[in-house]
């Protein structure tokens, strides 16, 4: 589904990613772990086309297409979703208007008719129930005045609405208490099928107690320095990152 080869990327002239190689297959869950500043968030931002980052070398192929050649909105239409580490507040833009525009733009890209108002509201209700998002939040402006937990839950709700092929969860666990973490993780698990893939970016092992990865990678200084099964996450939790830095 996703093939990253020798990816180099920089921000403001400073190279952060120094040759990433990563392949994610259909239905797989990959965890990317690593200490602060190792390039985890840069990787997720580069994959969704954030304008602040420049790709200097390498390639990314998504479902056979050159991902790096696409505009951010087209990457979304092709099925890539980023659950933001810091979801943005958009005062004055209602969740309903925002989601309806997003869903219908995706449908237009795929040659489908826009949903009618009734169909759309039905879809919203259905997905809201799936991830347990309060109906009051769905009537407010996008993320405005939401608590940390509500924002993260809203990300998963948007993921449910857009049904992506590849979801990148960028530190979805940050700022969540244990209960919120469990609810958000359960939402993600409900949405995971054999057809879609997930990349979980996290510092800690605790999220991986709920979202079980098939593969765990360690990112350090812009490169993937270790790849193994889920047991690697436990080992990192126990031993920290130092042994990898030294190795």
């Amino acid at each position: 589904m996703l093939t990253i080869e020798n990816l180099h990327a920089s921000i403001a002239g400073k190279e952060i990613l120094k040759g990433i190689n990563l392949t994610v297959g259909k239905g797989e869950v990959h965890a990317i772990m690593g200490p602060n500043g190792s390039g985890k968030s840069t990787l997720s931002n580069v994959l969704v086309g954030h304008p602040a980052y420049t790709v200097t070398e390498g390639s990314v192929t998504f479902c056979g297409k050159d991902l790096l050649a696409m505009a951010p909105e087209d990457r979304s239409h092709e099925g890539i979703f980023l659950s933001f580490q810091y979801p943005v507040e958009i005062p004055g833009v209602s969740m309903v208007n925002f989601m309806r525009t997003a869903v219908n733009e995706q449908r237009a890209y795929r040659g489908l008719q826009p949903l009618s108002a009734n169909e759309f509201l039905k879809l919203m209700r259905e997905k809201r129930a799936l991830v347990g998002l309060d109906s009051k939040l769905a009537n407010r402006s996008v993320n405005e005045g939401f608590s940390g937990g509500e924002k993260k839950r809203n990300e998963i709700y948007q993921m449910a609405m857009l049904e992506p092929l590849l979801s990148i969860l960028d530190e979805t666990d940050s700022g969540l208490d244990i209960d919120a973490l469990r609810i958000v993780a359960e939402g993600v698990n409900k949405l995971h099928t054999r057809e879609n893939s997930i990349i979980v970016i996290t510092h800690y092992q605790r999220l991986l107690n709920y979202i079980h990865p098939d593969v765990v990678h360690v990112l350090y200084e812009g490169r993937i320095v270790k790849t193994a099964g889920p047991e690697l996450a436990l080992e990192l939790e126990e031993r920290g990152y130092d042994w990898i830095k030294e190795g």
Binding site: V48, G49, H50, P51, A71, P72, E73, R75, S76, H77, F81, L82, F84, P87, V88, E89, I90, P91, G92, V93, N97, F98, T101, A102, E105, Q106, Y109, S141, V142, Q158, L162
Partner: protein, 313 residues
């Protein structure tokens, strides 16, 4: 319309429309059940220079909504000056909306002058024009009088729009609000000059001036000058002004959800104006305004969507 005519029979009335003066009277205690719409279309054969005046007579306890639309339908210069003034009795309520849909060769100067003894709401809604000046001078003259002034301005090219608002509190416990929002593109210039003056022996004054501006180009200019002169203790007066660009983080967030950048921009710009549009209390006008602002923001600069007068190119 029938209801309006009935209202007029009940005593509300247009007196005369001569020498460029329109008299509009709402007698004591009469509450007009529907808005009065006054629309002026300036066409090829109308004089290019004109002085006009609208005089209101609002009796005690009367209430009216008045919507004045001025639209040019000929692509040539106009220079119009207009006075809006009148008598505003105790507890009278006037909600006045000025819709400005003019061509880029139009110079328009409104002078709005009222002694408010009741409740006055004024919206200046500028969707087009060459050089527009709204000079607004209000005196809150009776205890508890309120003045609520707001405006939106979408300007591009070399358009210039000025809203100069002076509110003077002459009695205790009066309230005023000024909220102006501008979206400026090209080399457009938008000005908000606000002055709130609280005279001596006017405690309890409650005032708030707000000017918010988005410049879409490096050459657009927004000037905000909210000022206060306070000669009484025990007042609550605040002012705020911002000039900025669209939030890049919000734009990218929306793009990541599949909303193309130009649509995302429109969503943010509409959201920015909504706070002002929501202050319009006439449902139909509010919806039409939303539609027109949207069309204007989409670049349909000189035409409004709901208008059958001018043909779309």
């Amino acid at each position: 319309m029938e209801k309006l005519l009935k209202d007029l029979e009940n005593g509300a009335g247009v007196y005369s429309w001569g020498d460029g003066i329109l008299h509009l009277k709402v007698p004591a205690g009469v509450k007009l059940s529907k808005p009065v719409y006054l629309t002026q279309l300036l066409g090829e054969n109308d004089p290019s220079e004109d002085k006009q005046s609208i005089v209101f007579y609002l009796g005690p306890g009367s209430e009216a909504d008045v919507v004045i639309t001025d639209r040019t339908v000929a692509d040539r210069p106009f220079h119009i000056t207009r006075q809006l003034t009148g008598e505003f009795a105790d507890d009278a309520t006037l909600r006045l909306y000025l819709l400005q849909e003019q061509g880029t060769q139009t110079i328009w100067e409104n002078t709005i002058n009222f002694n408010v003894f009741g409740h006055f709401t004024l919206g200046t809604l500028c969707l087009g024009g060459g050089n527009i000046t709204n000079r607004i001078q209000l005196f809150n003259g009776a205890e508890g009088a309120t003045a609520d002034v707001f405006g939106l301005n979408i300007a591009s090219g070399t358009q210039q729009v000025t809203n100069a608002v002076t509110v003077t509190h002459r009695a205790p416990h009066c309230r005023d609000r000024e909220l102006f929002k501008q979206i400026l593109d090209g080399e457009a210039v938008g000005r908000f000059e606000g002055l709130v003056q609280v005279n001596p022996q006017c405690p309890g004054a409650d005032s708030q001036q707000t000017s918010r501006n988005i410049c879409l180009s490096r050459t657009a200019r927004a000037y905000a000058q909210p000022q206060l002169i306070i000669d009484t203790d025990d007042v609550r007066c605040s002012h705020g002004a911002t000039v900025g660009q669209l939030d890049e983080d919000a734009l990218f967030y929306m793009q990541q959800r599949g909303i193309p950048r130009h649509e995302a921009r429109l969503l943010l710009l509409s959201a920015f104006l909504n706070e002002v549009i929501d202050k319009v209390t006439i449902d139909g006008l509010r919806e039409r305004l939303r539609m027109m602002a949207d069309a204007r923001l989409r670049g349909d600069l000189n035409h409004c969507v709901a208008c059958g007068v001018c043909k779309k190119d």
